[in-house]
Amino acid sequence: MSRVQNTLIESVRKVVGWVPERWLPGGTPDPLIGRHGAVGTQLAQLDGPQKVRGAARFAAEVPLEGLCYAALVNSPVTRGRITRLDTAAAEAAPGVLLVLTYRNMPRLGLVPLMGVTNLGAVGNSALPILQDDQIRYNGQVMALVLAETQQQADHAARLIDLSVDTAPALSDFQAAKPEARTPASILVERNEQSAGDAEAALRQAAFSTDATYTTPGHNHAAIELHGVTAHWTGNRLVLHDATQAVAPTAAALAKLFGLRREDVRVLSPFVGGGFGAKGFWDHQVLAVAAARMVDRPVRLMLSREAVFRMVGGRSPTEQRVAIGADAEGRFTALIHTGYSVMPPYSASPEQYTLGTRSLYRAQSYRFGQKHLDLDIVPNTFMRAPGESVGSFAVESAVDELAHAMDIDPVELRLRNEPETHPLTGTPFSQRALATAWRQGADRFGWDARSTMPRARRDGEWLLGMGCAAGNFPYVRMPSGALRIRLTRDGQATLSTSAQDMGMGTATVQTQHAADRLGLPLDAITFEMGDSDLPAAPVAGGSSQTVSIAAAIAAAASKLTVELLRLAGNASPLAGLRAGEVRLAEGGLVCIEDPTRRETYGDILTRAGRDEISVTETGAPPLEIFKYAMLSHSANFCEVRVSDVTGELRVTRLLGVFDVGTILNPRMAVSQLRGGMIMGLGMALSEEVLFDERSGRIMNPGLADYHIPAHLDVPEIDVTWTGIPDPRSPLGARGIGEIGITGVAAAIANAVFNATGKRLRDLPLTLDRLIGAEGA
């Protein structure tokens, strides 16, 4: 977040720019790119049958002898000091084992915030956990009650009597704007960036648009609630967790509780949806502390309401996007600035301007974000943090300009495709957004769109079409370790602590490992979700697939070297170096002379070994500094809007994705479509009702926080360009987040096309369409 970081990153970018391509990861394209093997097939989710049978055990389902249950008390006020905390009735209630408050909670340090300057850190909140009598946000945990049953704990939690000396709280977005902070950087990017005098260019532009767009807070609503089962044996801790950060959680707990790292084990084999929410929050710490105090295993599962109150979501934003264009529609100015909420104790900067920075070529630019400091539950990363809401603003603005200029919105975008990264001039590793646009327009039947709003109608329903681009950066995490163990019977086990939140990581990496090691699928076992395995970083930024892929590739290289050494002089491979062989058909094969080959089993047998095991870490992700690496999408949508009620129905959605190699089409479709459904929810109905008078969330449940119901979700068509990225492992880029981007703008643009009404505030609810006058 600092100026130092900006300087550092910019010098790395500069240095890496000088380094010859072939010295860098991705400099020589991954030989597996374009090979037709297990990668690219429709292998079904390997743990599917287990999940369907209910045999997959989630963190809050682990049975343990002597288990007891926790309930939490969340603060009903936003700021203040506890003046009275009477726990006597709760302690006396049936079954109660412990009431934990700031008075008897073990004294613990703070959890370091996750961030680009500290990749090992996992904290989503830098606030103390039950350490003092201060209340810092509405929903903060005030007490934990442990009892023999969940019902007893829930009941006793209600009996705690709390008095608070309330203090004034910051909870008003508009009122906080004058005090907004301007951070030096947003993730790894310098925050404020400009080229030329964009404001002047805007004033002089032949055509222009300049408007403010707002998006509300969004809350996480993964199907699995946050839950842990914590269990001590002596000084050793086992935590069954639902987490996106297995190894970093273990490290954080070890540090916090003063344990050796090897004495903490975090297990998270299955996670019922992450999306950025399943990080490190207060509940893990509370359960671990409580378990230690009663010396019994503790189950703590958050209620849906508690997820809203204690696990942050996406910040609201207010964004200005202004675009100037010349008579041909070439952008002369592009401005994207705004405000979001990020108190100093939270980790997520909601990077809504970052996507815009590489999306279009323009003669002048201005970008910058400001942070508001409100007293809220720490906001956090939520599927495509930044790009999801940022694409709504910029892609609405492009549509406004297209309408003002009477140019087809697809055409306007094509005219402003950049050849290199607009700000840095770095080449794109691969970018085929233009191809995606053409492919999509054709497939969707875009030419049936009327350029005039309100021109198509079916009874009371106005029909419209819209489109919008989305993008999301390629991210690969440094430092993911992975072990390959190969046994004499030709079986390979790959192990890493990484996490599968339901998207199919183990399945896809099994496919990858089969190709990388030259083994059949059924010879591969992929182990993950256990901090005792080689440590992988947090799953975030759609980075896990390529991070693990890089680790597998690195480990396979190391394995090759070790196998050649083991093979020795009696082997047909004798004298060959690692670069001269490849892993294929269950062994090593000389590239020049494929008759020189030996199976893994034969090599191990001759060497008198049962197995061989190597652990390696993926190469540092320097390719991201050499190239501009991003995924793109072209979204198309058709809507119907009732001219009577303003009800909005999305009838068709198409996403064309330019995301590199598709490793498994079946799972890719599911990821991308899932992202699009989340984008649909963002467009239609999702909104945290944050009462600015009190600082309290007023819809903490799924009856009132409206995610799309089945009937809201139309047929969604998903397709892709299928062009591999020559600079990434397997030619792939992450696909977890790109799906959500651009969808809300495509829908808002279609609404404009249907009704002639430009809605710049999400969600696109019917009151915004019919207004108070019913106009």
């Binding site: 209600r158 009620t645 009462d691 007023m698 799309p708 009937l711 809201d712 009151d767 019913g774």
Partner: protein, 328 residues
């Protein structure tokens, strides 16, 4: 949730006797009451399960239908006679909640369900005159999207959320009650109260009374009816505004018209003024427009729900236009 005792009543008189006891509450499908217990809004000491009787849907001697209080919402909606003679009711019920909830929810429980005001549902932090009479109303000046535009008071602006009851109001249904003084009947549209300064008194149900059933009058010949619900999702959301209407038209004039709204008041809102203005008059868009204006003359929309006034008028006008079209 507080510890409570669970009992099953086997007859209506037994349930009514138990309902009179302090701390006792009747339990239908539990889809509303149990939620409110979890949230700490309701704290019964004893629950009396009343789903074991009054489960029939029967023809009345006059040709109407008597629907038992314990009939499940899904059974009601699927009943062949209901679908044939009162499609409005079937439609309205099916627009409510989800299939799972409708499978549990009972007719009496649906009538008695409480408001969805989020300040009402938040005893930990919000003031509410329904929960604690005289404590204040945090909904005023807060999120009022689901709140009343008609019949509210300074003490309470909550709405009754039921879809089924809007249809029942438009169908002129009668509630059958059983209490210490024996059975009595009350028109459904007079059963729910306006909040005034006693918003905690929500219905005309007396202590020790239970709902045993709902009676529908025989369907009118050539009656056309429909239900339209407008909400924030395509399904599984409460009404922002809903409209139920039954009409018969003769020679271009309304012979009969019954019109009710949901989502806009503390009770299912029978539009008696509009009905009176239209009855026997010409079935034209202009007449409908004027009548609706009259009906909403005293509407007091709030900042957060001003859109409901045009929404209600336009939805009703469109629905009536559709029905008039069907009779032509």
């Amino acid at each position: 949730m507080n510890p409570f005792t669970y009992r099953r009543a086997t007859t209506a008189p037994e349930a009514a006797a138990a309902a009179a006891l302090p701390g006792h509450r009747l339990l239908g499908g539990g889809t509303n009451l149990v939620d409110l217990m979890r949230k700490g809004v309701e704290h019964p000491e004893t629950l009396i399960d009343v789903t074991g009787f009054s489960q029939q849907i029967e023809l009345t001697p006059g040709g109407g239908l008597l629907i038992g209080g314990a009939v499940r919402n899904s059974a009601l909606a699927a009943h062949p006679q209901v679908r044939r003679d009162y499609p409005l009711l079937s439609r309205a019920v099916l627009t409510g909640a989800s299939a799972q909830i409708r499978n549990m929810a009972t007719v009496a429980g649906n009538v008695m369900q409480r408001t969805r005001c989020t300040y009402f549902a938040d005893p930990a932090a919000s003031r509410c005159n329904k929960r604690v009479p005289g404590s204040g109303c945090d909904a005023q000046g807060g999120f009022t999207r689901y709140h009343a535009i008609l019949g509210g008071s300074s003490a309470c602006i909550a709405t009754h959320p039921s879809d089924m009851c809007v249809a029942l109001a438009a169908l002129d249904a009668t509630l059958h009650l059983l209490g210490p003084d024996g059975p009595r009947a009350l028109p459904l549209s007079e059963f729910h109260r306006l909040p005034g300064d006693t918003p905690h008194l929500e219905t005309e149900l007396r202590p020790g009374e239970i709902i045993t059933g709902v009676e529908l009058p025989p369907p009118l010949p050539a009656m056309r009816s429909a239900y339209r619900k407008v909400r924030d999702r395509a399904s599984y959301a409460f009404a922002l505004v809903s409209v139920g209407a039954c009409i018969t038209v003769e020679n271009g004039h309304f012979a009969e018209i019954r019109l009710a709204f949901g989502g806009i008041a503390h009770r299912p809102w029978r539009a008696t003024r509009a009905e009176a203005a239209l009855r026997s008059g010409p079935a034209t868009p202009e007449a409908v427009e004027a009548a609706l204006k009259l009906e909403f003359a005293e509407a007091r929309p709030l900042d957060g729900n001003a859109f409901k006034l045009p929404l209600a008028r336009r939805s009703a006008a469109a629905l009536l236009a559709q029905l008039i079209g069907e009779t032509a």
